[in-house]
């Protein structure tokens, strides 16, 4: 039959082609993200740690020529703290998001592919976890664990990060299970693992990628939340930690805006960047959205 319409389920080749065409949302988001990463990495090479030491400069000095973003009440340069705090913030997101996506996608794949009791178990568990205010449970865990390393904090955050990818991957797997080429593979006697990796995985990659970005964003959000409450990792400087110290020192009422405002801006930009990337990935995997915009 002559094919006159594109199939509703975007093939991965189509998806890549779609992405390759200039997608301003993606470009903007990635540029922003890269900018922040550069700030946190290259910045370290250019600026020394000295400015971050206690008592390095005047206490609670407003922004000036010498100290671009002022200092906190302990005399630490806000700019330096921000530069050195960015990478840990990103790392937390990466670890938590990474673990969450790997675990979630695997569970989702298995649940979607095998169905039956495994599926019910995974699916119900994921749904339940989604309905719980995760931050609060994290609070309970964190309050008892006291000060913890970045790795530990990421690990417990990851526990709440896996349901989303699991759900997304599962629903995709369910619909792909019925596809012709999968049936063919089964009929020709391919083993389950082979089918999963050869037939399903390539089509799932866009969804896994989207879930990953979402999880990273969620992970950073959770870590910021924990730290702002005074929990989680308390020693290594992160952007969120700056905010929380600002709060516990009543920076708002004291008018020390340069202490909490800049980290807020950077964090905001980070979330916006990740969000834009998620949005463009969403459009790529659901081409109808793009068509609706173009119409």
């Amino acid at each position: 039959m002559a094919s006159t319409t594109l199939s509703p389920q975007a093939q991965p080749a189509e998806t890549t082609r779609r992405l390759a065409r200039v997608n301003w949302t993606l470009v903007l988001g990635t540029a922003l993200l890269l900018g922040i990463i550069a700030f946190g990495t290259i910045g370290r090479l250019l600026v020394s740690r000295e400015g971050m030491k206690l008592g390095a400069n005047d206490f609670a000095a407003p922004p000036g020529a010498q100290i671009p973003l002022g200092t906190d009440p302990a005399g630490r340069s806000v700019l330096v703290m921000m530069i050195y705090g960015t990478l840990p913030t990103l790392t937390i997101g990466l670890i938590a998001g990474g673990i969450g996506t790997i675990v979630g996608a695997s569970l989702g794949l298995v649940a979607g592919y095998y169905g039956g009791p495994i599926d019910t178990l995974v699916h119900s568990f994921a749904d339940i976890l989604l309905g719980v205010p995760s931050l609060l449970v994290l609070v309970v865990l964190a309050s008892y664990l006291g000060d913890m390393s970045i790795a530990t904090m990421s690990a417990i955050i990851a526990f709440f990060a896996w349901p989303w990818p699991a759900r997304s991957v599962r629903s995709q797997t369910l619909s792909m299970r019925e596809l012709a080429h999968v049936e063919m593979a089964k009929l020709s006697g391919c083993g389950d693992l082979e089918i999963i990796f050869r037939e399903l995985m390539p089509n799932l990659l866009p969804y896994i990628a989207t879930s990953f970005v979402r999880s990273v964003s969620g992970g950073i959000m959770a870590s910021v939340g924990l730290q702002m409450l005074g929990l989680g990792s308390l020693t290594l400087i992160t952007l969120a930690l700056m905010l929380s110290s600002a709060f516990s020192s009543a920076a708002l009422t004291r008018g020390l805006w340069w202490w909490w405002f800049p980290p807020t801006v950077v964090l905001t930009l980070l979330f916006v960047a990740l969000f834009l990337i998620t949005l463009s990935l969403d459009e790529a995997t659901n081409p109808r959205l793009k068509a609706a915009r173009a119409a």
């Binding site: 309905g131 931050l135 309970v140 805006w257």
Partner: protein
Amino acid sequence: MTRIGASYFVRRLLVFLFVIWAAASLNFLVPRLAPGDPMAATLARMSMSGDRMEGGAEIIESYRARFGLDQSLGVQYLKYLGAVVRFDFGYSLASFPARVLEIIGRALPWTVGLLLTTTILSFGLGILLGAFVAWRSGETAVEILAAPFVVLAAIPYYLLALLLVYALAFGLDLFPSGGTTRIGASLEWTLPSMLDVLHHSLLPALSIILSSLGGRMISMRSMMVRVMESDYLTLARAKGLPDRRVFLWYAARNAILPEITTLGISLGFVASGATLVEVVFSYPGIGYQLYRAIGNSDFNLIQGITLIMVISVATAILVLDLVYPRLDPRITYTGK
């Protein structure tokens, strides 16, 4: 067709009970599994800071009695569950002799008020905007209107709160940056007092609304797009029905269904976010109390607040789940 039957209803109820039980058990297990014994550490600390001593002995006693610390773990667990069922969370470690329930009781109305209004407003407005943007998707004016909300959706509530504080409270001095009343004023049921409260509550509410709105809008818009391609939409148009009817009763009415499910899922997230907004604004809800409890290592209060929050969110989800079949005739109480 809407007989309250076994399957659906019972299942939802079981999940509800399970979640609460799991949260309570977590509260029970974590302190006992944590390295060291935080309770002992706290009590030790308290006994060393003289002026807090006056409650010390009683707290230890009540704790011992409530949890039967000298008895087996199993018995402790049962006693604990029994206490939870009676909403007996014990005494606040930091504000003895206040009971945890009292503190929560005073703070909860503030939080509920904030969350209820913001959720209803952001859901309602978000749905309408999303549906509208999708319906008129070609027009640039509409796209431009929608764009800022999309960006806002990216920003977590509390960060937005901070930004708003900077812009409106600090920079322009239009709104107060915290509390619920002017410093020194007391809370009364008089109009000036109420307006004052409203004035103070506006920024916290706004931070939550603006951000949730964007998310809701995007989600509704994408659902609408999907619905707009459906066969029943085509036939509705073929019938020559007026545009508004097709928009409301064929498109939006169908698109809204998954949004309600999403709302349920997002409630946990909203609750968490609102907590932090309260911290930013020193808004006396349970979020703020939680923050202070953490600072004071007031474990009883932390546990109590967490559990109450979990119960509240679970209840809200249960209510939504029970309402859903009324809106979608394909789901019945007996089936699925």
